[in-house]
């Protein structure tokens, strides 16, 4: 006779929602990590590599999408969670937005052969550096979720994550400054450049900037976990 467990005990346990959130964030971060080499390939006019990196970003983005999808399927409203279910669902879509932006940048560079204006190179490098920093901080923040869970989102660990969140805010502020200078430089050189290219460069700069805005959104979402 095959005996199944007639007791409800094991049915009580569901996989922790923080694991897929962290896995998702790691994928999103690797998406963003491909943006600097992507632009580097553009500088070097290496179309082969540009395609390779661009497609890698698109592939990673769809993997992240898959995790988001499975995560949502596994979040029935009968769950007892240490944080608000709505906040968790919004957190993963905020993270997903990051990957979406990276994908948009990759696609833009894939369908349009862009010429890089010399004046922008240094500023864009600066912008990329800031973007990588803020994305890494956002990822580190998400990596703290296990520890936060262990101490019930309180105490020392809470302070530590609050500081990390403040750090992300500050970085976003700095990037806003770089964004302004980059746009200004582009504006001052508009007359020497092809008008259509200028439009696309504005778009590209905006998208790079929105990565840091979105990273700040992720941080703000996490703040809600701490204030419950």
């Amino acid at each position: 006779m095959d005996i199944k467990s007639t007791t409800p005990f094991s049915g009580l346990f569901r996989t922790s929602p923080f694991k897929p959130i962290q896995r998702h964030m790691r994928l999103v971060f690797s998406c963003i990590c491909f943006i600097p080499p992507l632009l580097d390939a553009l500088y070097r006019k290496d179309t082969e590599q540009l395609k390779e990196f661009g497609n890698e970003i698109i592939k990673l983005e769809s993997e992240a999408d898959e995790i988001k999808h499975i995560f949502r399927l596994n979040m029935p409203n009968t769950l007892l969670l240490p944080v608000d279910r709505e906040d968790l669902l919004r957190l993963i879509s905020d993270q997903d937005q990051l990957a979406d932006i990276a994908e948009e940048i990759a696609k833009l560079l894939l369908y349009r052969d862009m010429e890089v204006p010399e004046v922008l190179k240094k500023l864009i490098d600066e912008l990329l550096e800031g973007t990588m920093e803020i994305s890494a901080s956002a990822k580190d923040m998400i990596e703290q979720l296990d520890e936060l869970l262990q101490v019930g989102f309180k105490g020392r660990e809470q302070k530590k994550v609050e500081e990390m969140i403040a750090g992300v805010r500050k970085k976003e502020h700095n990037i806003d400054g770089i964004m302004h200078r980059t746009r200004r430089a582009l504006y001052e050189n508009e007359s020497h450049l092809d008008p259509v290219s200028v439009i696309f460069w504005y778009q590209l700069i905006d998208r790079l900037g929105s990565i840091s805005d979105q990273a700040e959104n992720v941080a703000d979402r996490l703040l809600l976990f701490l204030s419950k």
Binding site: S5, T6, F18
Partner: protein, 421 residues
């Protein structure tokens, strides 16, 4: 009286077979939950879990199993109306055992979440209503038993909630969690030994002719706590910080301290389970034996023989080593989400609640109390995700099991009555 004299041996043999079947079912199924937590957390291997279960299941049954057995045996039914025909009570007890065992078998086959405790209580009530009359059910006692089913998971949950909060204050949310874990761990292990032994010893061993005063009970329990604390200290003293694991998860080393501590809660759970659930199988058996051996005395004034408790413990162990270990593996695999520190809190809370209920003679469900304790950890924001549908399933299983057990007991009662008279 003639029937008892003519078929006495048959009745006892039948009761032993049904009782063994029941305890076998309890061991194959129910025990897996009680110990699966420790197996799932990696604190004990399946082989160690079986060894622990054998020793502590027996200890729980023999040392503390008498109170609940007495409730099942003579606490729920008032047989004064049938003093002249004791065979009715024998049929009823056999029918109740058979009904509960049968219902358990159906539920196991279908995978329904039922509790043996609820099956046997439902069956006893069912038999008493048709066999003797509705007045024969001690409704007051039934009321307190049913109330304990609601209260006990809440008590377990409250204790585990407080334990989780205390581990955070004393260990996790400090500057040096590992050092504090090693400092306070023996104290937590002391609690396991102290509470379980105190509840058991406190005026609870009269059936073994051991009568301890209040002071003596406290003294022995204290010594027992110190002993477990010393063994606990021996296990954790060598644990060192694991830098690689800590990089990934800061509290990895601290959790390593809690892993051997779950060995003690595993013992406590097996003990608690033995002290409460063994009664479901042997309570009716004890009643039948008492009636037959006294030649038809339904009031059952005699003491509960220890061999019946041993038989019950044996049945549970048999169930565990034939089928239960596999269920335990399945359960353990599913509950890896429970880290050793939370598992320790949940098990200690559950074991304490069950032993307290056993001491009071209340038949409760170990599994439901464990569910309540885990929910307590969840309410302390200590677990990633718990599915509350389980709570709904438990309530449904109460509503279904009581009438199902009752109806089947009625059916078996009339069948047995037809066969023997």
């Amino acid at each position: 009286m003639d029937i008892i004299a003519a078929y006495g041996t048959v009745f006892i043999v039948l009761a032993i077979i049904f009782g063994l079947y029941m305890t076998w079912g309890i061991g194959a199924n129910d025990l897996a939950n009680a110990m699966g937590t420790s197996v799932g957390a990696g604190a004990v291997t399946i082989r160690q879990a079986i060894c622990i279960a054998i020793i502590f299941e027996f200890a729980g049954a023999v040392l503390a199993g008498g109170h609940v057995t007495s409730t099942i045996r003579k606490g729920i039914i008032d047989p004064t109306a049938i003093v002249s025909s004791p065979e009715i009570l024998v049929y009823g007890m056999l029918a109740s055992l058979l009904a509960a065992a049968f219902w358990l078998m159906i539920a196991s086959w279908k995978g329904w979440p039922v509790s043996t405790t609820h099956s046997i209580v439902g069956a006893l009530i069912g038999f008493a209503i048709v066999g003797i009359g509705p007045d024969a059910v001690k409704w007051g006692k039934v009321g307190s038993v049913v109330a304990s089913w609601l209260v006990s998971p809440a008590v377990g949950g409250t204790i585990s909630f407080l334990l989780v909060i205390s581990t955070r204050k004393l260990i996790f949310d400090t500057d040096n969690p590992l050092q504090n874990a090693k400092r306070y761990a023996p104290f937590y292990v002391f609690l396991v030994g102290f509470i379980i032994s105190l509840v058991t010893l406190f005026k609870g061993l009269t059936h073994l002719n051991i009568d301890l005063s209040v002071g003596q009970s406290f003294g022995v329990a204290f010594l027992f706590g110190l002993l477990t604390a010393a063994i606990g200290w021996y296990f954790i003293r060598k644990i060192k910080a694991d830098r690689d694991a800590d990089r990934d998860f800061h509290f990895a080393s601290v959790e390593k301290v809690f892993a051997p501590m779950m060995l003690f809660t595993a013992c406590a759970m097996a003990f608690a389970h033995g002290s409460n659930d063994v009664a479901n199988g042997i309570g009716p058996l004890a009643a039948v034996f008492s009636i037959v051996s006294s030649g038809g005395e339904v009031m059952q004034k005699s003491e509960l023989p220890v061999w019946i408790l041993l038989l019950g413990g044996g049945g549970i162990v048999l169930g565990l080593i034939t089928l239960g270990y596999r269920v335990m593996l399945t359960v353990g695999r599913k509950i890896t989400e429970l880290t050793p520190s939370r598992g320790f809190c949940a098990e200690l809370a559950a074991a304490t609640t069950v032993v307290l209920a056993s001491r009071t003679g209340l038949p409760v469900s170990t599994t439901h109390i464990l569910v309540g304790s885990v929910l307590g950890v969840g309410l302390a924001r200590g677990i990633g995700a718990l599915d509350l549908r389980v709570v709904f399933n438990i309530i449904v299983s109460w509503l279904v099991t009581l009438p199902a057990g009752a109806l089947m007991a009625m059916l078996f009662f009339f069948t047995l009555k037809g066969i023997f008279s």
